[in-house]
Amino acid sequence: MKKITLFLVAFFSTLLVMPAVTLAQSEASETIAETTIQTTTSKRADRVKELRTNLLETQAERVAKYKASLAEKLDATAAARLKARCKAAQTLLTAFLKRSASLGSNRTKAYGAIYDKLTNVATRLNENGQPELASEVTVVQARLQEKTDAVLAAIADWEQTLNDAEELDCEADPEAFKSALEQARTTRADVAAKSAAARSYVTETVVPLLKTIKTKVSTTE
């Protein structure tokens, strides 16, 4: 009986350890694969954080800021109308936030991919003995990064404002809800503009530069 007990204990302890080992292996592989991304992403995240304008710690502070930026104060009629309908609007905001939850991370990965491509090109141009072309790529890369970081910062501000609008007690303070919603709309427009600017920079500056470099590299081959 003791042998059976020992066998069972060993068997179950092995089974208990197996998932942990499996998890550790998978996490290790993922860690190795994403090391490059994380190092660059963490630096980028710091820069994006510096660019954010809606980084007040408490919601009360942010709401005060929203209210201060509200152009028109709510009259009694508008407040009553908002009180009656804001809960349903907040439900729609919740759904919208869920749909756009991965928006920031997707943009971060996409911009990171472009950044890494340009880094690779610049590095290999240096290896080719073409530092002038490499420096051109580096300059363009830095300008593009400024633009993409601005986009990511605006997205973070936008999501923060949307979260505030969703979480506020709109029936108790309809003006706060209204001001947060207006701020979210303003930030959305800012995000769209900055994203368009980054896109146009890629299509109008980065891609043409790469075509030029291709021609020069091809002639020197």
Partner: protein
Amino acid sequence: MDIQPTSTPSDEPETDTTTPAAPVLNDVTPPEPPTPIATPDFPAEPLSIPMSDTPATDQTPSAPPVTADSSAASPLASMSDPTPAPAEPLTVSTSPMNPEPSPSPPLSASSESFSGPEPTSVFGPQPAVGSTDMSTPASAPVNPVAPVHTEHKHSNKLIVMVAVLVGLVLAAAALFIYLESGDSAEPVVNTVTGTVEPEETGPLTGDNVDTASQSITNTTGSLDDSQDFSETSLNDTTLGL
């Protein structure tokens, strides 16, 4: 067993008299109910009733089966001492482990109720004696022992079954986690290749630059601003305000 002659005068008449005189004494002693539990189905109730007298004298819970085996032993058990009963079983339990060193049958008789197989070897040579006193010669000691074994076996089986079930659950969990990690590995690889494609090394060629340019264009084209930052997503009409 040889010490049978030594007996209290009060016990001897009880064992000898299976006549109605004994029930009178039984009525006096209250702890008789346990005896019918040992042999509930046996027809010889008057015989079992006088036997219950000896357990009353022994004042031990295991007394009924003991008296059932040997009427001569029961008076001895009562003779030995009612009070030392708790201390003696300990010494007896060690003695039955040895083949036959125990010269004191009454002590072994009290230990029979605790150890199943060994008492049968001790009392093996005395089936007739037990049959004289008890209506059921051998079934009485077997009945109290058998349930203990079955409970033990049942508990062991239950433990094994529970252990096997837990093992299956854990194995299923491990398999699930393994498959889950396998599934999640693909997206990770995809995202990695989407963000950091395998670093091309070596001298840069025109084709490499063209490939990089095409990749950047594709990445930029995959970002849909009109869908991600739609103006209508937050207007009053959409939100029902």
